[in-house]
Symmetry: C2
C-alpha cells in the first residue's frame, strides 16, 4: 500500500492531477518509488472513493481539463496513522546481481558491456541528483535555515546520492573482477 502513501505525501507537498503525479513519479518522488500513470489513475479513483481525497475540476485553455486532487482530512489521518506504525526493513531486488552470479555458467566477460551500461546509467543519475541538490538546496552543505519539508527532502536526496555513488563504485569493482577473470583465462573471447 505504499503507493497510496507516496501519493498522499506528494499531494500534501502540492496538489495536482493524475498526469502531474505521473510526472513526479518519473522524477523527485520516483527516485524511491515508481508508478505508471495507469496505476496512479486507478489508485486515485479508489482513494477518492474512500474519501481520502478531494477533487476539483479545473478548466484550462489550450489544454484538456484536468482533475486536481488534494488531500482531505481522512487522507491526512491515514498518512499519520501509517507514519506511526512500523514498516519492515525491505530487502533490495537487484536483477543485475542475479546476472552476475549467473555469469559463472556462461562467459563472464560477455557481461562486461552490460555492466558498463548500468554503471553509466547510475553515474548519469548521480550527476542528475547532484545538479538537483545544487539547484534546490544550494549544495551538500545547505545555507540554513530551510523549512522542515525541505530539510527532509534534502535528507532523502542525500540518500539517493549515496546510493548511486555506492552503486557506481561497486560496479567498477565488478568490472575489475570480470576483467581479471578474462585475463586469467586467455582462451575466452569478449
Amino acid at each position: 500500500m505504499a503507493l497510496e502513501h507516496a501519493i498522499l505525501v506528494s499531494l500534501l507537498e502540492k496538489p495536482g492531477s493524475g498526469y502531474e503525479l505521473a510526472r513526479r513519479f518519473d522524477r523527485s518522488i520516483g527516485y524511491f518509488w515508481t508508478a505508471t500513470h495507469q496505476q496512479i489513475y486507478r489508485v486515485l479513483r479508489r482513494m477518492d472513493g474512500d474519501g481520502l481525497l478531494e477533487v476539483r475540476e479545473v478548466a484550462q485553455q489550450g489544454r484538456p481539463d484536468k482533475k486536481e486532487y488534494s488531500v482531505a482530512a481522512p487522507g491526512r489521518a491515514a498518512l499519520t496513522a501509517w507514519l506511526h506504525e512500523p514498516v519492515e526493513p525491505e530487502s533490495i531486488r537487484h536483477e543485475l546481481a542475479v546476472k552476475i552470479r549467473g555469469a559463472a555458467f556462461d562467459e563472464p566477460s560477455a557481461l562486461i558491456s552490460e555492466v558498463e551500461r548500468h554503471r553509466e546509467a547510475h553515474d548519469d543519475r548521480l550527476r542528475h541528483y547532484l545538479a538537483g541538490e545544487r539547484r534546490d538546496f544550494g549544495g551538500p552543505d545547505a545555507p540554513r535555515p530551510l523549512d522542515v519539508g525541505q530539510e527532509l527532502q534534502h535528507a532523502v536526496l542525500r540518500g539517493g546520492i549515496a546510493f548511486e555513488r555506492m552503486t557506481v563504485a561497486w560496479l567498477d569493482d565488478v568490472l575489475d573482477t570480470l576483467r581479471r577473470l578474462r585475463a586469467a583465462r586467455p582462451g575466452s573471447r569478449d
Copy 2:
C-alpha cells in the same frame, strides 16, 4: 521474470527441492532477490512444465520425500539467452524514504525510533554479511585463487556489504537531521 532466472542460477550452483530453494532465498540468493515458498513452488511447476528443469523424487529417512530439481539443457539455454539480452537498470523502492518525506506533515521526531530500528536492522545485516565473507572467502582480500563462481559470488556479496554500509551511514545522517529539527523546535514532544 527474474525469479525464474534466479532459480536457474541457484539450481545450477546446486540442485535442490522447493523447500531448499525457499531457504536459500532467505539467505545467500535472498540478499538481492526474495521469494516465498508459495511462489517458488508455483514457478517450479511452471518451469518443469516448460521443460526447463529435471525432477528426481528422492526418498529420505526420518524426513518427508522431496523432489530434487536440477536444470535441464533448455533451462541452461534460457539462462544464457537472458544473460545476453540487456535488462533495464532498476530504480529502488524505499518505503522508509516515503515516510521520511511524509514526516514533514506530522511530528518529525516521532520517526526517530522507527529510523533507529531500521538502522539496527541494516547494521545486523552488515555484520552478518561480513561474517559470511570471512567464512566463505577469507575476508575482503581473499587469498587467490578462487574459482570463477566464487569470485562472482564474492563480488555480489561485496555489493551487499557496500549497500548495507551506505544505508547505515545514511540513516545516521537522517537521525542527525531529525534530532536537529527537534532541537530547533523545543515545543515538540518525542
